[in-house]
Symmetry: C2
Subunit: 185 residues, 2 copies
Amino acid sequence: MSKEETVIPKLIPVFRQYGYEGTSLSMLAKATGLGKASLYHHFPQGKEGMATAVMNYIANSFSQAVLQPLNNSDKPDKKIHQMCRGLKEFYNDGKNNCFLAIMSFGEAQSLFGELVKQQLQLWLDTLEKVLIEAGIEPEQAELRSQAAIMEIQGALILVRILNDTAPFERAIANLPEKLFRVPIA
Amino acid sequence: MSKEETVIPKLIPVFRQYGYEGTSLSMLAKATGLGKASLYHHFPQGKEGMATAVMNYIANSFSQAVLQPLNNSDKPDKKIHQMCRGLKEFYNDGKNNCFLAIMSFGEAQSLFGELVKQQLQLWLDTLEKVLIEAGIEPEQAELRSQAAIMEIQGALILVRILNDTAPFERAIANLPEKLFRVPIA
DNA sequence: GTCTATATAGGGATAGAC
DNA sequence: GTCTATCCCTATATAGAC
């Protein structure tokens, strides 16, 4: 494990709570216990480099927790069940903001918008394939995958505003049923 | 119409695109055509005052476009239909970010979090009453109202990331059916 | 009511000692 | 690899002329 990889986890909660523009080098220095100059030693591209490193690190965690279960050799309903478990863990029961949502507006949008879009598309495509494997029509599979991710994103916002994780927990609990059995017009 | 009320609409798109922390006085000055000092004449509380004014202005627009139809004397399904029309207009077919989502994280959360929560709760309660009026059980009415707003919020995020308004349009199109006819576990 | 000019603080970033 | 010290710039905010 390289030195950067021990620093990155300390950067994550700062960017996650305050967003790209709301995060300052001072905050990152405090969170890591390093001076600003030391941060530049590890990340010569400065704040943008740190955010990029965080994005990649998170993409990897997400892949492990959420996508990998969808790509294994279990039956579709078990894959979805495991994705749900992964989502609860990844989003800390809904208390974590989603980096895709955070990094897709303001100045961050021009810096990371394309990367964010690719990550989201990867999630959509992976989910869609599982539904098709389960015998759902391709168009329905696409619509339901989108609807599922929409609900999760919306749930995270409600949790944040209402300061109550119930909406997220319900959304996760209802996800398998909706994906497998509720048609979309 | 006071002078401030002619300035506020010019502030809105800046805060909406860049968020609270991502918006600077220079941007606001440029957007209004006024100097920074002039902005302080209209809003002695500076950036925070401008954001507050924008929040109140938007709350009013939202009330007119979305809540008012829910409070009139039409039949429930017509009320919902009119809310959907209002939502499409208010969110500019999904291209507008939601201020509730934007102002509920980072530094803005501590400044406006309570106001945002109240606004969201008002929407939830108003919607819930219409569903109850339509004969839906109170617990279902609450769950479906939450689910509906979740979908809209999630749809706005997908639109932003994918740069495609289709998810929002579908979410709105399916809203009446979901509110009136799709039970939540 | 708007401006120019300015005050003060903090931002991101770098140089160079250790 | 970490630090102190510093640079430059932009941020918010204010003073005071017009």
